[in-house]
Symmetry: C2
Subunit: 118 residues, 2 copies
């Protein structure tokens, strides 16, 4: 068993083009022994957002705290605490923090290109 | 994109032998289009626990709320809010709620035997 508390985990700024006020924590990865998928936590500050992009792997997201919207080609969907979201492969998406506090969310991705370097 | 709020999601009692006061919500599954892994939420009531067992797939767990312990062959580890836990394949494990409120946690498993029927 491997365990880490996100409140104490290393945090890095997402410097991908199009990201704003977004930090990431790689909590469980293949380096920790995860065979198939990686668990990350994102912290998006007020007014911040992840890149608007698409890729050929899915996201499974769970909103821990805060308020936001998911932007897709079909429009915007409001999300809040305890919302689970499946972003399908190749679906354009962006997460935006719309509340006064940070939007905190988990995002699970399959091992492979999505987890390169981790 | 598919989305569901766990506060409104269907909830069923875990009737596996060895489980006590444990409910499950299947939030994101292959039936919703998830290609590789399923996101479930467990709600373990005070004094309750999941079965003590092992299987050949991993768990990636994230504690949302509450206090508990994970029991393994190496002993007990206390866990609380924002704890991420990797239970390796074939590792014996049990989650026990030790606090006055329910232990709420996400548990992600690979599609396959772990998700049969979902």
């Amino acid at each position: 068993m491997y365990t880490i508390n996100a409140q104490e985990a290393p945090t890095t700024t997402v410097d991908t083009e199009g990201a704003e006020s977004t930090k990431i924590q790689w909590l469980l990865t293949s380096a920790d022994g995860a065979p198939n998928f990686a668990l990350r936590r994102f912290i998006v500050g007020p007014g911040g957002h992840t890149p608007r992009h698409s890729h050929d792997w899915e996201h499974e997201v769970y909103i821990l705290r805060g308020e936001g919207v998911v932007v897709t080609d079909q429009g915007e969907v409001a999300v809040a605490t305890d919302q689970a979201i499946l972003v399908a492969p190749d679906e354009s998406h962006q997460f935006r923090c719309t509340g006064p506090d940070s939007l905190e969310m988990l995002c699970i991705v399959p091992n492979g290109p999505a987890t390169a370097g981790h």
